[in-house]
């Protein structure tokens, strides 16, 4: 049993994590919350050096330094547009670490020859398995978002069978761990976990990947909780469970915001194609215009709503867009940004991206607050977004995004799309709004086009 002061310190740290999560869920307290969490984590990790009589301390310190440097490097260097895949990667290494810890503990338990009871063996197997799933799944997620592989759902014949077999094998190996534990069984279990992780994420379409990140995050949380039980460490149990529970709940919130169910996201593609869009450019006629024409539309409008999407951030055009909005504002046009809950690639991602470009917070209006205003709007300018204004979400029951709440851009008098090409959005489905008579397209790189638009509006 750990000394009392250690237990008390862990208790304080656990409360710190609760306060951190509580803080992170409100805009005013979020940053403080995060700092409290960080402080609790640092304190907790310092404790063992003072009581546990650790061996290999220099090596451990070096390893911590290496990991800290790696984490700092990644976290500082990452572009805000690449945030989702960075979070995925951090989550994956956490899951991997938990699986390794459980493997080591398995080895230790066998070495000592202790029998801690069936539940501890089971928790060990769980940690190894789910940690590996989280690691492999996160790596695939990272590759999808970083476009190191296709972001479309990958399905092959027999995938459900292989997946099913892998699950059965995992269950069998877990049972073996309980009855006749061996390090080799643990290692095979980890490998099966890696396979399950890959197979779990492969069939998920690009637009749904953020929800999977959140789900894997919850998985890692539960893994850490189980690891805490195995090690007899209350802090790991509490912290892991907190993340597991809140992560699961958050995953559900996100899925609801996208009008999807988690089961459908994970296994929709397996049921036959509905997650697969056409993915091809359409050759139906559209109306396109040059920057000067669009400048006139915008310059003489009374009410303009901007719908920003991930494409805006990829083009790094937020600053140019903000300048354009400033100029329009000086001309007396009322301009707001309509923020869809899943604009960008994760819920709330767009707010981060626009905040980075110093866009005033009160110009960012959430979907429910602005949807009633589209019918009084002269021009909607859609920059690098597509799926969030796709009326198919309301009108086409078979569409992958059917049921997702959308911004009612189709109710405005005019819609201007700034697009690079006619390729469909991240969800891979055609947008009928592009072919409406009130819609104008301005082709080109968002930053380039916005620059031209800006000078054209200034020249009016």
């Amino acid at each position: 049993m750990n000394p009392t002061w250690v237990q008390l310190t862990y208790l304080v740290c656990a409360v710190g994590f609760i306060l951190a999560l509580k803080g992170l869920s409100g805009p005013k307290t979020a940053r403080t919350g995060n700092l409290i969490g960080a402080a609790a984590a640092v304190v907790a990790c310092t404790v063992p050096f003072f009581y546990a009589d650790l061996k290999h301390v220099p090596l451990i310190l070096v390893a911590i330094a290496v990991g800290t440097a790696g984490g700092l490097f990644g976290a500082r260097r990452v572009q805000m547009t690449q945030m989702p895949q960075m979070v995925a990667l951090f989550n994956g290494v956490g899951g991997g670490a938990a699986a390794l810890v459980a493997l080591l503990e398995l080895h230790e338990l066998l070495d000592v020859g202790a029998d801690p009871g069936w539940f501890t063996w089971l928790a060990t197997a769980f940690t190894i398995l789910v940690g590996s799933v989280s690691f492999a799944g996160s790596v695939v997620t990272f590759m999808k978002l970083q476009e190191l592989m296709t972001s479309r759902p990958v399905v092959f014949v027999g995938l459900p069978i292989v997946f099913g077999l892998a699950l059965v094998t995992a269950v069998v190996l877990s049972v073996v761990t309980v009855t006749d534990a061996a390090v080799l069984v643990g290692i095979v279990l980890a490998l099966v976990g890696l396979l399950i992780g890959v197979l779990l994420v492969l069939p998920v379409g690009g637009a749904d990947v953020p929800i999977v990140i959140s789900l894997l995050n919850a998985f890692t949380g539960l893994t850490v909780a189980a690891g805490g039980y195995v090690l007899g460490n209350t802090l790991l149990l509490v912290a892991g469970t907190l993340v597991g529970a809140s992560g699961t709940f958050l995953t559900k919130l996100m899925a609801t915001a996208m009008g999807r169910s988690v089961v459908n996201i994970l296994f929709g593609a397996l049921k036959g194609g509905s997650t697969l869009g056409s993915g091809e450019a359409s050759d139906r006629p559209v109306r396109s215009a040059g920057p000067e024409d669009v400048a006139i539309l915008l310059g003489y409008a009374d009410r303009v709503i901007i719908v920003p999407g991930y494409g805006l951030a990829v083009a790094q055009a937020q600053h140019t867009l903000r300048e354009l909005v400033d100029v329009l504002g000086q001309r007396g046009t009322q301009v707001d940004y309509a923020i869809h809950p899943v604009a960008g690639r994760m819920p709330g991602h767009m707010n981060v991206l626009l905040a980075e470009a110093q866009v005033p917070y009160e110009q960012l209006v959430e979907m429910d607050d602005i949807n009633g205003e589209f019918k009084n709007t002269d021009v909607v300018l859609v920059v690098g977004a597509n799926d969030v204004v796709n009326p198919a979400a309301k009108t086409t029951p078979g569409a992958p995004i059917y049921g997702m709440p959308i911004l009612n851009a189709d109710e405005a008098k005019q819609v201007v799309f700034m697009k690079r090409s006619m390729r469909p959005g991240f969800a891979g489905i055609e947008n009928e709004l592009l072919f409406e008579p009130g819609t104008t397209l301005l082709f080109g790189d968002a930053k380039d086009s916005l620059g031209k638009l800006l000078s054209a509006v200034k020249a009016l």
Binding site: L21, L35, A63, I64, A97, A98, V101, H107, E366
Partner: protein
């Protein structure tokens, strides 16, 4: 070791606390919240340190050190990246709150800003 039932109690209570504390989160904060929660499970670093520090087997030490590196990446990277995200929210809200008086939703933030923070607000806003 303590009774399994004690562990079960801690687990179940933690589940409810975990759900309860984030139940009112706005969608704006989903991304930072996910990232912050992600950083918290980096606490597996503590487990990795304990396991590595108590073994003598050379292979086990090596594996343990790998686990420590991975866990430290998770923990440190997670908290720093979350802070980077939140920094932008907070700075923006404080400076707009102080210059425009804020809308109904941002009004709260300008009051929290209080004397000292609002004093810093315009200078950060000007510098950025």
């Amino acid at each position: 070791m303590s009774e399994p039932i004690v562990w079960l109690t801690i687990f179940v209570l933690s589940v409810f606390v975990g759900i309860e504390v984030i139940s009112k989160v706005s969608s704006t904060l989903h991304t930072p919240l996910m990232s912050g929660a992600n950083a918290i499970h980096g606490i597996i670093l503590l487990g990795a340190i304990l396991v590595t520090g108590t073994t003598d087997n050379a292979v086990a030490v090596a594996v343990g050190l790998v686990a420590i590196v991975l866990a430290a990446v998770n923990m440190v990277g997670g908290f720093v990246v979350t802070d980077r995200m939140l920094q932008m929210f907070v700075r923006k809200k404080v400076s707009t709150g102080s210059t425009t008086g804020g809308g109904s939703t941002t009004g709260g933030s300008s009051t929290t800003g209080g004397g000292p923070t609002t004093g810093g607000g315009p200078s950060t806003g000007g510098g950025a």
